[in-house]
């Protein structure tokens, strides 16, 4: 079976998700080709020189230096066709999630995304992914080829090995003017000290709407809540997640935590991040506990309601306590 590990560069190098994809593809057996697109692809591909691939294909035209649907789909199409692969593995990055389903259409391939496991025994390829937002897990296959699988990051170990000089084959791609109607003008990111979403963090801190409710003295303490949460994020280098109800307050014009946005939301219409540990506070809903926490290994919750049906059975430990009191003490201990 011909397999293509299709990856892209990020700042001129192969990101962790790309290395994970290469390792996953290499473990499947078969004849492996590595295809890299993006700025400095020819240099970056040397990082996986020892992965066992028989061919290394690159597209590093300036047109693919920026992530853009039309040019990315064209480059991916060319790489898939040049490889002749029956099975294509790629990282489920934002760049490829945008472009590869389009490329699949162009090469008459089938495509599946958010793949969490892939096996190939005797040429029989099976994949696993979640349906209904991490509620139902399915194992499935397809007979049609080519088959593109976009694999979620954080599941497989990244490829590790020494870099080496290898023979790289550039793949020519035409990028007509109509593929460049879009121009990437930049990246909008919070200041480094205001960044609350940290995919590589060891812990996810989930804040629920309880932080913005009246507290035991009958008053709102939103400013104090914000200081406590930000203090913890800073000291523990944690990533911040939120329940939907909390981020919705902002769009409804209510006073809430200023640093919180829909980007922080975990669960139904939010993300389902992967972190080793998770601490939920003031949450009383299904989303943070059942959906948003699907890929959190160790889970603890601080909750005033010990009988909260969503925390029970979902968290390893539920502390029945006031999150304001506990987090004040936690922050002091983390000083």
């Amino acid at each position: 079976m011909k397999i293509l590990a299709l990856v892209h560069t990020d700042n001129g190098a192969l990101p962790k998700a790309a290395l994970e994809t290469v390792a996953t593809a290499a473990n499947l057996g078969g004849t492996l080709t590595v295809g890299v697109m993006g700025a400095q692809a020819g240099t970056a591909v040397q990082a996986v020189a020892g992965c066992g691939a028989t061919k290394f294909l690159v597209v590093e035209d300036p047109a693919v230096a920026q992530p853009r649907y039309a040019t990315d789909a064209a480059a991916a199409t060319a790489l898939i066709q040049a490889s002749g692969a029956e099975l294509v593995l790629a990282p489920n990055s934002s760049r490829f999630a945008r472009a590869l389903p389009g490329a699949a259409h162009r090469v008459a391939a089938q495509v599946d995304t958010h793949v969490v496991a892939v096996t190939a025994e005797g040429g029989n390829v099976k994949a696993q992914r979640w349906f209904y937002r991490q509620r139902i897990l399915a194992t499935f296959s397809r007979t049609a080829r080519p088959w593109l699988l976009l694999v979620d990051s954080g599941i497989n170990a990244p490829w590790q090995g020494p870099s080496a000089q290898i023979h790289v084959e550039p793949v020519a791609v035409a990028f007509p003017a109509e593929t460049q109607r879009t121009t990437v003008t930049g990246i909008q990111a919070p200041a480094a000290d205001a960044q609350t979403i940290r995919p590589e963090a060891a812990i996810l801190f989930v804040a629920g709407a309880g932080w913005t409710k009246k507290q035991k003295d009958g008053q709102y303490h939103i400013g104090e809540a914000g200081a406590l949460i930000q203090g913890f994020l800073s000291k523990a280098k944690a990533s911040l997640g939120s329940s939907k109800s909390l981020v919705d307050l902002k769009s409804e014009g209510q006073e809430t935590l200023s640093f919180m946005s829909h980007m922080n939301q975990v669960g139904q219409t939010g993300s389902t991040p992967r972190h080793p540990k998770g601490l939920s506070t003031c949450c009383h809903g299904e989303e943070p506990h059942a959906v948003g926490w699907r890929f959190i290994n160790e889970r603890r919750a601080i909750n005033l309601d010990g009988n909260c049906g969503w925390a029970q059975g979902k968290a390893d430990v539920v502390y029945v306590a006031d999150a304001f009191d506990v987090m004040t003490q936690v922050n002091a201990l983390l000083e």
Binding site: A97, Y132, I136, A189, S251, G313, Q329
Partner: protein, 268 residues
């Protein structure tokens, strides 16, 4: 600009608070009591619809369609609430809204329905949809629609679009690490797969509802059947993995002790 033609692709999904149990049906995997489960408009599609209506208000002469593939009877129920939110013209397609259907087939059906819209002018066309569905969660359908309609530009995980006077627009797309990719596009046509956007859910407006419903019932009556199914997917196993944890409840313990335990756990 003579106004935008904004077509929103969106269908129904089970209410997120419902317990879902997979079952095997002759058509492939399905959900237990699927026809009885309360439904909502798919959350990301709903955001796309609200953003479409907001954009249509800003650009004079614009119109919004909602192209929806789902069981006709359930679409009718759904419209009782959705139609009260924002003005749109419904294009209903009668078929399965199951998360186990193949996105490739779904995108073909949607693209055909859009291409058949009377008076469609691609130079004014923006196709909106959710960046994924709460059922299939594949992020594949909108790209399929884009390719089938021959549109060159697609944006995914969109939270904002700003139209410029010359018809070009600026888009914010979510990327890794809580950041936005900022792009400008020369103008329509384009496909935008929305994340949550920035708008709250509009309140129910009975006047909007009455205006919409005048078109909804005829649209439902003439909904064409679409044979969407699992396509080329061979499902081997569909299950809810056990996730019950033995939760330890800690109560009547001072905050200081809890904090010590938490910090020890954090540092372990």
């Amino acid at each position: 600009m003579s106004g935008l033609q904004i077509v929103v692709c969106g269908s129904l999904v089970p209410d997120p608070l419902q317990t879902l149990e997979p079952v095997t049906t002759p058509q492939g995997p399905g959900l237990k009591n699927e026809t009885m489960l309360p439904s909502v408009l798919d959350p990301w599609s709903a955001h796309a619809l609200f953003e479409a209506a907001n954009l249509a208000k800003q650009v004079a002469g614009s119109k919004v369609w909602l192209v929806s593939l789902g069981p006709k009877a359930k679409l009718q129920q759904l419209m009782m609430t959705v139609a009260q939110k924002v003005p749109f013209e419904l294009v209903a397609i009668d078929g399965s809204a199951s998360g186990f259907t193949d996105a490739h087939g779904v995108s073909a059906v949607l693209a055909d329905a859009i291409a058949a819209l009377p008076g469609l002018d691609k130079s004014r066309l923006l196709v909106f949809g959710g960046c994924a569905s709460a059922s299939r969660d594949a992020s594949v359908t909108m790209q399929g629609v884009c390719e089938r309609l021959g549109i060159a530009d697609l944006f995914a995980g969109v939270d904002e679009i700003k139209i410029q006077p010359d018809g070009s627009f600026r888009v914010l797309e979510r990327i890794e690490g809580g950041r936005y990719l900022v792009s400008t596009c020369a103008g329509a046509p384009a496909v935008l797969a929305w994340a949550t956007g920035n708008l709250p859910e509009p309140p129910n407006n009975p006047q909007v509802g009455m205006a919409n419903m005048r078109g909804v019932m005829p649209a439902l009556q003439k909904a064409k059947p679409a044979a969407v199914g699992v396509g080329g997917i061979v499902y081997e196993k569909v299950e809810i993995p056990p996730q019950k944890r033995a939760t330890r409840i800690v109560k009547d313990v001072p905050a200081s002790e809890i904090a010590k335990e938490l910090v020890a756990w954090l540092k372990a």
